[in-house]
């Protein structure tokens, strides 16, 4: 048993199987709150604890997944290229929305944390949360934030967007599919985008475009903001 549990591929097998199982569960019952990634993460965390596998050993086993974050980031160019023509036609509206929303998100994040006197390094950790995870991780590295906590906050934002986003937008009477998609993509990146895609093809396209544009804008802006908090 020990030979199996501590085999170099064990962590990778565990992660893939947990993800497959969680996806299957999601496909059958569609429980809104139980995003496959959250279920898979919980299953893996419990399994590691029970089997007595250290986090470092696990990380070494799944390094192939960590490495794939790079090419996945480059691949984000694809949705941007597909939505290209429609975006160019409304480029002023898109850019203004991007800048204003980015400013509001960062201000609210920093404001809430400063109000409670949270430590500066935690403020830095919370900053990249609206950015799609592969980029959030690299940004977190650049500004000196804790990678794991950044990922959790990013995942929470994504799930919030998928669960509450469409209802909140309907509540404030945003009916334009492009605006709905863009708003979800900007605040909830990939997880929100998959939800927007379920709403309509148009919303999904604008959502992934917003996700990429937001990632680009935040990659440039956040290191500057973080500098104010000792980053």
């Amino acid at each position: 048993m020990n030979a199996v549990v501590h085999a170099p591929v064990f962590g990778l097998a565990l992660t893939l199987l947990a993800y497959l199982g969680a996806g299957e569960l999601h496909r059958r019952w569609r429980p809104a709150l139980l995003a496959p990634v959250l279920v898979a993460t919980a299953v893996v965390a419990v399994a590691l604890e029970v089997l007595g596998i250290g986090y470092d050993e696990y990380l070494a086993s799944v390094s192939i997944l960590t490495l794939l974050l790079g090419p996945a980031t480059v691949a984000l160019a694809l949705p941007l290229l597909r939505a290209g023509r429609a975006l160019l036609a409304s480029r002023v509206a898109v850019l203004v929305t991007l800048l204003v929303t980015g400013f509001v998100s960062v201000t609210v994040t920093v404001g809430a944390l400063e109000l409670f006197g949270v430590a500066d390094d935690l403020v830095r950790t919370a900053l990249p949360r609206s950015v799609t995870t592969p980029v959030a991780l690299t940004v977190a590295g650049t500004i000196g934030a804790g990678a794991t906590l950044t990922v959790v906050l990013t995942l929470v934002s994504g799930v919030l967007g998928a669960v509450a986003g469409p209802a909140l937008l309907t509540l404030v009477r945003v009916t334009d599919l492009r605006a709905r998609g863009f708003a979800i993509g900007m605040t909830s990146h990939g997880i929100g985008t998959s939800r927007a895609l379920a709403e309509s093809e148009v919303a999904g396209g604008w959502s992934s475009a917003a996700m990429v544009l937001n990632a680009l804008a935040m990659t440039i802006a956040l290191p500057l903001v973080a500098r104010a908090f000792g980053g």
Binding site: A75, L78, T97, V135, T142, L160, V212
Partner: protein, 138 residues
Amino acid sequence: MSAAPPEAARRPGGWGAHVPAVLAGLGVLLLLQLLGTLLVALLHLPVPGAVVGLVLLVALGVRHRGLVRRVEPAGDPLLRHLQLLFVPPGVGVVTEASRLADAAGPLALAVGGSFAAGLVVAGLLLQALLRRGRAGSR
């Protein structure tokens, strides 16, 4: 040489036809990431190499649809299952659990608040701007 597999035969010829399309696509993505890393190192850019790779792919992809078609077999499945790549760092939160508990209230407010504010602002603003733009052009 033995007969080419049917999948390779269907694709347009050219380089990389002897490997599965997903591998050729992954190769292009990795090459773009490394090119981005090289540019970051040479020009001392403040952004990650992969993000520069993304910009490179957009710039090249606008002109060269063939390059985009090369990348898609690897890029599309990667993007559809991005979440799988988040599992390992997510698991690591167990090690940060105590710090998270200390600041749970403010963090929840910061994340929830900036999420709601960003969503509403983006939705209303873009909708208003798109409507105005359409009214102006007609």
